[in-house]
């Protein structure tokens, strides 16, 4: 009872980046438990480079395959993962708190009849139990929880557990499983514009607020995002989402997404408490605002006071030089 199951995530037969984060978290916990890490991939068939999870500390990579699993099949996935979790007798089962993981983890926990700590930002094994940090009130407070049931089921907030190379042999095993997709069927996936990153997963987020003045002006931020070469996503404040300028999927804040990028650039955002709640765990925050008294400057590491329509294009030009 000291092994940890890390549920990896694939899309279209390729592993998603959060998988290495989950295995990294699992390795950390397994080291404290003196146990092994088993990474679990659920897919239609063998997944390219699944063995790479061995590089982040998985002792074994198990791929459960079934033709019904070409797309996410919530009921089928939940059943085979819960079965595996039961059979393996794990001390903990870890998911990514991605769109898929947040959907899947509660189903698996309910099937196992144990509690779930969702969207955690830290985990440890102390005093004989798994403990986690779970941000509440949109990050305005941190709840420290002890999971008293076994297995401890948790999902890890994306972008928080930086993948660490911990090479293990990482033996692979591919197991065809008998399973139906279930009653809930994903019939299609409409991809967003090519290369569009989700604000919750991008390593750089550039968000705009009312200071942009009108929706068309977001092209200024998109140009800056493009200058970062595919690593940046454009986010938005609640005010501009509510005004219909930007899709709600881009909203950062308490009623939108909580983000933890390496670099967060707030442009023309005053910094309402509910917005700060959604981005305060960013590693470095830059604020560009014409009002030097805007609350955003209180949380920003670096501030530039000025007209965003002058400052942002200059920044874009300089970033291009840097990457050029």
């Amino acid at each position: 009872m000291s092994d940890v199951l890390a549920v990896a995530e694939q899309r279209d037969g390729a592993l998603r980046k959060v998988s290495s984060e989950v295995v990294t978290g699992a390795r950390r916990l397994a080291d404290a438990l003196a146990g092994r890490v088993e990474a679990l991939v659920v897919a239609a068939g063998p997944v390219q480079r699944a063995d790479q999870l061995g590089g982040f500390g998985a002792d074994k990579v198990i791929t459960l395959t079934n033709p019904a699993f070409a797309r996410y099949a919530p009921e089928g996935y939940a059943r085979v993962i819960a079965d595996r979790a039961r059979a393996g007798g794990y001390r903990a089962v870890l998911f990514a708190a991605s769109a898929g993981g947040r959907d899947l983890a509660p189903r698996v926990a309910a099937r196992l009849g144990v509690a779930l700590a969702q969207d955690i930002t830290d985990l440890a094994f102390e005093g004989g139990a798994v403990t986690v940090i779970h941000p509440v009130y949109a990050g305005k407070a941190l709840l420290k929880l002890k999971l008293t049931a076994t297995p401890a089921v948790v999902s890890l907030r994306p972008n928080v557990f930086t993948p660490v190379q911990r090479p293990k042999a990482g033996t692979g095993e591919i197991v065809a499983v008998d399973a139906a997709a279930g009653r809930v069927v994903v019939t299609d996936v409409k991809a967003a514009a090519a290369g569009a990153l989700d604000v919750a997963e991008a390593s750089i987020v550039i968000s705009g607020g009312r200071g942009l003045k009108e929706p068309a002006n977001f092209k200024v931020l998109e140009a800056l995002a493009a200058a970062f070469g595919g690593r940046a996503a454009v986010g938005a404040s609640r005010a501009v989402v509510d005004a219909g300028w930007r899709p709600h999927a881009d909203q950062v804040g308490q009623t939108g997404k909580t983000v933890s990028p390496t670099l967060y650039i707030a442009v023309g955002i005053s910094g309402a408490i509910q917005h700060l709640a959604g981005m305060r765990t960013s590693k470095v925050i830059v604020a560009i605002n014409k009002d030097k008294d805007a609350p955003i400057f209180k949380v920003a590491d670096y501030g530039v006071v000025g007209d965003l329509f002058e400052v942002v294009p200059k920044l874009t030009e300089e970033i291009k030089k840097l990457h050029g």
Partner: protein, 250 residues
């Protein structure tokens, strides 16, 4: 169309969080409580489904303290028909315990749809809806941003990273609602008056101990005081130098 909507009483999103003297919970003194914003989308969707069908019932169910009756009344004022409060002294952090009590209440209701907000803005648990679905063995789609229902089949859209999943499911089903699904209506004065007379049943519930123990609630670490690099575009080269050499993020 008989629809249940599960709602939660939560602190307003503008609340400044103060930790109570037990070091484990929110100091509720002076805190304004509201209907969880994601649950408003669920209430609105239920009302629209009933209005379209021209017949049916929308039942609002909440697990919470006695004060959650106000939250239920807000949903009744929007237009729901009746309410049920599953009364507990305190909503536990373990979502599975909440789900068990709600599933027990919902089990015999004969609902075509059971709706939840995709998460509550206080505990960020993202789990009670799908857990209820598992306990009742019902199909479930979470974080629904678009919904079509025709007869006993539904099609939902849910946002995933870099795209949108189109999901088909049979009714009865459990759905959790995301922002973007609809524009919730504001309760009109007439609705507020009518809500006072609508039936609201209070049932006392005893929950299990659960599998999560709260060790502490703390403020997030303070960010260290930042600096204003300068004014206007002239500050950009220095900003870049700092991002490269001091913050080391570029």
């Amino acid at each position: 169309m008989k629809i249940a909507v599960c709602v939660k009483r939560v602190p307003d999103s503008e609340t400044r969080v103060k930790i109570a003297s037990d070091g484990k919970s929110l100091d509720e003194a002076g805190v304004k409580f509201i209907l969880n914003p994601y649950d408003e989308f669920a209430v609105e969707e239920a009302l629209r489904r009933k209005e379209q069908a021209g017949t049916g019932e929308v039942v609002v169910v909440s697990l919470g303290p006695a004060a959650a009756q106000e939250t239920i009344r807000t949903a009744l004022a929007m237009g729901a028909d009746r309410g049920v409060l599953v009364e507990v002294d305190r909503v536990p952090i373990d979502g599975l315990e909440v789900a068990k009590a709600l599933a027990a209440e919902l089990k015999t209701g004969g609902y075509d749809l059971i709706l939840f907000g995709k998460m509550a803005i206080d505990d960020y648990n993202h789990q009670v809806g799908p857990m209820v679905a598992e306990l009742l063995d019902l199909p479930c789609v979470t974080a629904v941003a678009h919904l079509d229902v025709a007869g006993q089949r539904g099609t939902a859209e849910r946002e995933i990273e870099g795209g949108v999943e189109i999901v088909e499911f049979p009714l009865p089903a459990v759905l959790t609602t995301d922002k973007g699904l609809n524009e919730p209506r504001y309760p009109a004065l007439k609705g507020i008056m009518a809500a006072k007379k609508k039936p609201l049943l209070v049932k006392r519930a005893a929950l299990g101990a659960g599998g999560l123990e709260v060790l502490g609630l703390t403020p997030p670490p303070q960010r260290k005081e930042g600096k204003v690099v300068g004014e206007g575009p002239a500050a950009v080269p220095e900003l870049l130098r700092l991002l490269r050499e001091e913050a080391k993020v570029l």
